[in-house]
Amino acid sequence: MTSRVTDESRRRLLLALAGTGALAGLEALLPGYARGAPLTPRAGNAAQVNGGVPGPVLLDFDVRRERVAIAGGHGSGITINRSIPAPLVELWEGQQAHLRIHNHLDEDTSIHWHGLLLPFQMDGVPGVSFPGIAPGETFEVRFPVRQSGTYWYHSHSGMQEQKGLTGPLVVHPASPHRVTADREFVVMLNDWTFDDPHRIMARLKSSGEYYNFNQRTVGDFFDAVEKEGWAATVRDRLAWNNMRMSPRDIADVTGATYSYLMNGLHPAVGWEGVFRPGERIRLRVINASAMTYFNFRIPGLAMTVVGADGEQVEPVDTDEFQIGVAETYDVIVEPQADRAYTLVAESMDRSGQALGTLTPRPGMRAAVPDLRKPPQRTMMDMGMDHGGMAGMAGMSGMTHGASASKGMDHGGMAGMSGMNHGASASKGMDHGGMAGMNHGAMEAGGGMGPVVGQHGPGDHGPGNINVAETLRYRLGEPGTGLEDVGHRVLTYSQLRNVRPMRDQRPPSRTIELHLTGNMERYMWSFDGVKYSESEPIDIVLGDRIRLVLINDTMMEHPIHLHGMFMELENGQGDRLPFKHTLSVLPASRASLLLTADEPGRWAFHCHLLYHMDAGMFRVVRVAPAEVLSHV
């Protein structure tokens, strides 16, 4: 009887798979490798969310390494149930999930359910929550589903997520959606490479700029001279060269090796979702890539953001958003016209894009925009700007000493006085009057958030190149490269929870962590300390804590806590949005609140795969004080 149920579940998965192209007409348009019997390994995946009748779910996951047709070629990948990406999993809030993972690899594997609340033993991090799944073994995951929203799942072993072991996961709510939709699609973004991820890591250890083919050249120098004159250009070059850093360092791994996939399909094929004009469509955008931040937009179609990291937020109308690795956003679109729309997910460094189409008729296409000009880092990303630091006032209680700027004349700053730890600045702080901040690197445009702190003493040792001396509140910024795009871009400060905070207690403790790295040696860490040199971070069960993240490096890091949601202090009063992954901008200081109500050993790490594997990882241990004191 068990096997019958298993077969049924398998069949359901396969049906879901076929659903990609549910759309039989579309099948014909797909290249040969995406067609054929459902059981041949292939790329391209269920994107249509089916829903149906609530109930417990039993699913089997067969993990294999095999040759797959993907990204216009053939390569070795890790499939689940013969598919890359792994199939869409749909669960129901208030019901049981029973997920069985069968390891057919000749190495250990694991599956982590990213963003799900569950007993830590089910969380799927080898060496933290369980020993891992040995070759030939089956691991059974069982938990009552306690939430709803858009999530995903991926391997936490041996860089397997880079080789395809990632899949979308949707949890349907127990009660009807607040936000209704006529149609739902998953839009899962991946960065695929035919290379061996271990080789990629080895190359990065030899040369951190191995994949960067957008470095500053002699030609760029003369262009800058023409625009800014000799003196300014030479000064700028000297400044960067003296720091031994590059303003063009946007992504460690780029389109030089990656193909960017949307729902498993590369841009030349393009994923396709069919709609009827006038329908409300929910897109569940998941950044399941290993290393790539994406800028997501649908030219000609406005989006309403209704969910972030699986949790509901008050609707925000926007035209584009940046999505960090491992984040998810739910957006509603309502295309009225009988035309196709291109879904554009451009990599942040603009070395490539994943593409798809929303179309009223299969095969119809809309224009595909060119890649925009790659962005550059500024001295502000380095925390090196010392402008406007005079006349600090009012920022009582800041860990690094008060440092708001008088020179920055904009209204919102008034709200900063007396604010606890300064990081919860108000929404009113838009990038209006940054005039007083005029400093060479300011022309990045869009403006940077206010200064909220100074780095303390200490440089975090040889594993850290840069110390961000001037720290900013940057939750009001659209993200690198989106400062001047000429349309609305979502910012973190716009995210507002639909529900008030459950735990109104002030935090009893602050944990401050610096994000640190050495690009030259490809070392990544917290506070200059790698995982292998670290000890667990202990938090007393039930405590309310504040987590302060200070990014000393010149790049974004998507910091992920397993097992518990964090509330981002973004100025939304008691409606702070929940996050499981927070992208922390360079030279910024962000703070989060956390009620530690889930006992366990939880992984806490940068979700850039190669940063995590280089040691930007910690274990957070949550238990009653008397239990922790016995360690």
Binding site: P56, Q121, V627, V631
Partner: protein
């Protein structure tokens, strides 16, 4: 999907799930006793010590770099070949490092000069390695051995720098330094000025060395990165032997390669 199937599937799954409810308890939360297991624990994860670690951030990596493997066409001197290679094996902080250089005439005979250095290297700041070890000369004086202490890294202004102090087994002290700078003409065409000097702190008559600057070389090489690891190049090199007050200029063609 039929409703009856859903129901039977549901009942069955619930039955299967019951044991896990018992262990999980507290509405799907883990029991507090499970956080700190019995027995020896990993210092980093707090998990049982016999589990694998979640990641191995102290792994050993290696690189072999043939910086210059070239043919030198000199006016007024015999054409020559040259190699300049190094490599390392180790983790982020500690590495075993080797370096070797050699030069010789194209038309037969043994190399004019060649040597091998074996070094222990340790990161002392984000951009710098402190290195210590031994150097063995094979040509022209195969009996010469040195103790080496050096500093290798990336200097401000993006200068690749390799400096070393040598003490011979006779107690003579000398120094060597190399500087390279990569100027990107395009993403793949790279112009590399390079400078190398060696100096002696005392006269060493038996080896023909005078106190002061012994030799220097400036070069300019233009390489094309077919891929990061493989770049053929052409260039010029001007060498000066200060002890004998001779200098040669050579056109060079060669290959830079690493793995």
């Amino acid at each position: 999907m039929s409703d009856s199937r859903i129901v039977s599937c549901g009942l069955l799954t619930l039955a299967l799930a019951l044991p896990s409810l018992a262990t999980a308890g507290q509405h799907g939360r883990a029991s507090v006793d499970s956080v700190i297991p019995e027995g020896p624990l990993s210092a980093h994860s707090g998990s049982p010590a016999d589990w694998p670690e979640p990641l191995y951030d102290d792994a050993i990596f290696s690189q072999v770099m043939v910086d210059r493997l070239e043919y030198r066409d000199s006016a007024g001197a015999p054409n020559a070949w040259l190699w300049d290679a190094q490599g390392w094996v180790g983790n982020d902080t500690q590495r075993f490092w080797w370096k070797s250089e050699g030069e010789g005439p194209i038309n037969g005979g043994s190399p004019e000069s060649s040597n091998l250095e074996l070094l222990y290297s340790r990161i002392i700041s984000p951009f710098w390695n402190l290195q210590a070890g031994v150097r063995q000369n094979f040509n022209p004086d195969p009996d010469r051995r040195f103790a080496v202490i050096g500093l290798q890294g990336l200097a401000p202004l993006m200068l690749e720098t390799d400096t070393a102090l040598y003490v011979s087994d006779d107690g003579d002290v000398s120094m060597g330094a190399e500087f390279e700078y990569d100027m990107l003409l395009t993403q793949r065409w790279v112009l590399q000025p390079r400078m190398e000097v060696s100096a002696s702190l005392q006269d060493v008559p038996e080896y023909g060395l005078r106190q002061g600057l012994n030799s220097s070389e400036v070069g300019l090489r233009l390489r094309y990165e077919l891929m990061r690891e493989i770049s053929p190049y052409i260039g010029v090199s001007h060498e000066r032997d200060h002890d004998h007050d001779e200098s040669t200029t050579a056109l060079v063609v060669g290959l830079r390669a690493w793995y």
